[in-house]
Symmetry: C2
Subunit: 353 residues, 2 copies
Amino acid sequence: MADSDATLVRVAVDLLGGDGAPDSVAAGVVDALHRDPDLQVSLVGPEELCHAVSGGAADVRDRIVIVPASQVVAMGEDPISGVRAKRDATVCVTAQLVRDGAADAMVSVGSTGASMAAGIFTLELLPGLTRAALAVVLPAVSGPVVLLDVGANVTPAAGLLAQHALVGAAYAEVLLGLTEPRVGLLTIGEEAGKGDQTRRAAAKLLADLPVRFIGNVEGDDVLVGDRADVVVTDGFTGNVLLKGMEGTYAVLGDLITVHLARSHPAALVAVRRATAHLHPDRLAGALLLGVDGVVVVGHGASSVAAVAGCIAQAAYLVRQSVLPRLHEALATLITRRATALLAEAAQLAEAAQ
Amino acid sequence: MADSDATLVRVAVDLLGGDGAPDSVAAGVVDALHRDPDLQVSLVGPEELCHAVSGGAADVRDRIVIVPASQVVAMGEDPISGVRAKRDATVCVTAQLVRDGAADAMVSVGSTGASMAAGIFTLELLPGLTRAALAVVLPAVSGPVVLLDVGANVTPAAGLLAQHALVGAAYAEVLLGLTEPRVGLLTIGEEAGKGDQTRRAAAKLLADLPVRFIGNVEGDDVLVGDRADVVVTDGFTGNVLLKGMEGTYAVLGDLITVHLARSHPAALVAVRRATAHLHPDRLAGALLLGVDGVVVVGHGASSVAAVAGCIAQAAYLVRQSVLPRLHEALATLITRRATALLAEAAQLAEAAQ
């Protein structure tokens, strides 16, 4: 039993989400509880299944709260109509716990669309935003880089990319402790004007935001991280890029393992240690950035370690008070932008007199 | 001197293209000539510079043909108006050599836009195509994978993605010797319907093509290669993905080098050997697939080895008679498609009677 309930971070977890559910989720929950004595998990799923998880983990049982829910929004299902129709779906109930203050954060590794829909329909958006984005923090060489969007809005207009830039900058400020994080626009050439029409329009909007916009960045800049701390893109490109980087890591890792396992086992251990922080499992989940709650969305194929990682990440974000601080940072940026617009309007009015 | 001029492959090279031009291009040319005794290079650039290259490489001098051209379409310049205005630009003259039969192939590592514009304006498109695509051949785990487009058409409609699928399949058949190569559509979920509107429309069109369309693939499938031999995408996403994978390779390579160099130098050699075929330099250039000529476009930041690689790749494509065979394979696919459409039309006419 933890010393005091007041210090517990309460994370609601969707037991039925993910390719390996419920087993991998259950194992991830137990693993996360073992690693973090100040964690409490609200396990959302069919009562019998939840009891089985809880019963099989005697030492952490008192930190598992069972919340019954039986429906599922499946991977192939249309997430929006699925979430609308099934109010008793595990992912919906998980989000409701956050809305009602019964949990501090939620985690689902089920259908990304369903997790987003549940988060967005159930929780409010932060003031000034019209959409949320999926944001990941990549362990780039020069320091962490916030990449967004990685899958929420597949064909955003330029204005939405500007919104992503604003909330991404606020997030980097709060989470990474950066003053004026450098914001880059992901496109296919460094020179201004490179890319498609959306990128060209977005570049103009980003230049007017009260953020440190450094211009275009390319696909190979992201994981180096020496040019931008926040990389803004659409959800289609961001998702393909993220998975492409993960795939490259896996392919190289497998090749190296095969070649070193017999001949240089000690070196293999050294390589694994040196590259462990880049392992896709360590990325854990994406934050549904822009909703008024900590919603961590994991990969459907999440391993046990990745599920535990998502839960740990959610707990970390709560302990760092990321959400209230994000509120504040975003409000400051929006106020600055509004002030600039008012000043421009005043100048125009003066000129017109 | 080569035995007979008849066996020589003649590659025209743009001396002024690329971040390191003319030095890295010159060194790449000399390197390529050293490696391939049956190669002749038409060096296109300012006469004095060309003479300096030729003069500094006595042993291969007789296989360098100097073709004077002095203008440059710079990296920041609008490629289309640049190529239109500067008919004496090195990249334009290089393409003219191919058109006029004075060279068998061309290579430029300058502005990708300018190389594409010069290729497209100077050479014809293959019958049945309305656009060309940039195609790379990736050394995936399960075998080579053709990825296209990586930068020619940034916002293609679904019909153009179908065209890319057709020419990509023909290219994989010819270059990789595959019967019915598997064609995948790059998007952000395996299930049918995942992605944006363009992808959904393209999936329907691809299903009707006389190619083996296997459905959606994701960013992490590309470098594994067990699902598709040809991956079709738009030039924006393809470019970001390609650079993202290259960047990940570089970041991991640097990390591993730093950690193994002192402690396990022998293992480092083994790692380098095991992963050398994935090194971005080995990718060399992209083929401007769809024009009636072998046009190899390299990265602006190409190293000497990468320039030499682009030239070797161009020579290889010529020796494999890829272009005439591509003509034929594409014509077969287009005829099959036309036959299917005619049959459909006949059925409709019959039903209407």
